[in-house]
Symmetry: C2
Subunit: 275 residues, 2 copies
DNA sequence: CGAGAAAAACTCATAATGAGAACAACTTGG
DNA sequence: CCAAGTTGTTCTCATTATGAGTTTTTCTCG
């Protein structure tokens, strides 16, 4: 950024980068001279419970938007203060607010989704919110946070995504849009990355992996072709040598157990085509 | 976001969303009570000049990082002030700072890249920067902005990407990382979207389109197979019926002219495979 | 033990891709 | 004007990937 366009201070132009000059400049700098902007993080935590995709939501227990459901989130701590130490980076803030709702699993995928900053998205002041997406294996029921009346893993179908009951959960601010963006991101990332394994425990069967795809894409896949594709994609999964405890409920061969391989990108991708 | 975790005010918890209660809450709200955070936008503007990818940079003419090269950028205007009206949304801010350097072309692709907020990325204060990527056809040489000593379209090869001379342009702040992220994003987006046309004027030849891929990916493509692929992908390009003015410099058949089709996503994608 | 169920392996037709050859249409130099 | 060189476009063919279905293996349950 060419910071300084709206900056309160100005110093003589030097042609080269001069450390002493910069030190003098910083000593006279007042960070409070700007129009206030709040920076928050919101976390879209996705998991799959019993073949159905869920998102972690909390019901707001204070103003504004008191009573509505919202993504876990909070202000980024710019510097050390009464509430705790500063967040060294934005992902730290995302994990911090998530921890208030649920214990973190051993492995989880955290990725930045996007940043939302429309002037009217929060009635209090100008709020710029950095959204993160977390993909995690099935987790216990969430705990209620300090400012939250309830918290729950909510199935997508209860939110107007999918074909279930609509509008049972009314979302605060622009969180419906953020959630929609996250769902679309997750759907498309399954195509060309090995991210589906982030929804599963450390070892899993091919059927469980296929179940992730079917849950997130909302369609069934040809089991045999899926199996072939997974095997043929180098680095997607690694054989552990072990077998699953038992076959399905009503019998069936015991499936082989795999763990996630190292590959991040699938070449070629696994497309959710028309058929 | 569950805004309010660090908020300065608190009101009695109502179970349902109450508009009157919310109005009272907002009347007593002081936006200056937070630790100050600055929000900026940075723009990675990419274009292709004479078969070589370029990025728009300005040389800083003030502290901090005086004398270094930086992406066009500036503070987001949270509210109307002496410098001008507020930015209604973040993309407006991105286009505003870009306009200070170059006239905007008729069509351009603007997309959010990511947001960078490490605690030490700016020495003045906590700065959270929202980066945007712009893909544009070849543009005239930039104009020098208010706080900028020089501005120029700089080839990637001069920045340590590619195999050219390294480190001739030293970048300010974490802009090398932002630029690297943009380049990787552009490279991968060419695979599965029809975004390559954003680098070209409104009508173009298949060779020109192939030239975009070759420039961005830094490798040659099989001309005949590329041609077949483009034709076979519905909605990628539309035939205008016209022919290009003349063949190449040393002769050659006149190429057919196309315009960008409507398709955004390529199914199946166009992969930059090993061969 | 036999029926049913799930996992895994196999078959076959079709589509997409990489590589190269061939043909078409233009420019330039002699 | 013709020959050589250049670029755009079409075609062929071998290889690979995919969709769909069948078969085999190995398990549970009654």
């Amino acid at each position: 950024m060419s910071e300084g366009i709206d900056g309160p201070a100005d110093t003589p132009h030097g042609r080269e980068h001069d450390a002493d000059d910069e030190r003098r400049f910083l000593a006279g700098y007042d960070p409070h001279a700007f129009a206030p902007v709040a920076v928050t993080v919101d976390v879209v935590a996705l998991t799959i419970r019993d073949t159905v995709p869920h998102v972690l939501l909390g019901r707001r227990g204070q103003q504004p938007q008191n009573g509505r459901w919202a993504l876990p989130g909070g202000f980024v701590r710019a510097q050390d203060g009464p509430n705790g130490p500063a967040d060294p980076d934005l992902p730290d803030a995302a994990l911090r607010v998530l921890t208030e709702k649920t214990p973190l699993p051993a492995e989880l995928h955290l990725e930045q989704l996007g940043t939302y900053g429309a002037i009217d998205r929060d009635p209090r002041m100008r709020v710029v919110s950095v959204a993160y997406m977390v993909l995690a294996p099935d987790l216990p029921d969430p705990r209620t946070g300090r400012d939250t009346a309830e918290a729950a893993w909510v199935p997508w179908t209860a939110l107007g995504h999918g074909d279930g009951a609509r509008e049972r959960y009314e979302l605060a601010f622009d969180h419906a849009r953020v959630l929609g963006d996250a769902i679309e991101r997750a759907r498309s990332k399954l195509e060309y990355t090995s991210l589906a394994t982030a929804f599963l425990p450390s070892t899993f069967t091919v059927s469980a992996l296929r179940g992730v795809y079917e849950a997130v894409w909302g369609r069934t896949l040809h089991a045999a072709n899926f199996h072939r594709k997974i095997q043929a994609t180098p680095g997607f999964v690694e054989d552990t040598g072990a077998l699953a405890e038992r076959g399905g409920a009503g019998g069936g061969r015991r499936a082989r157990l795999y763990r996630a391989g190292g590959a991040a990108l699938l070449h070629p991708p696994l497309l959710r085509g028309a058929p």
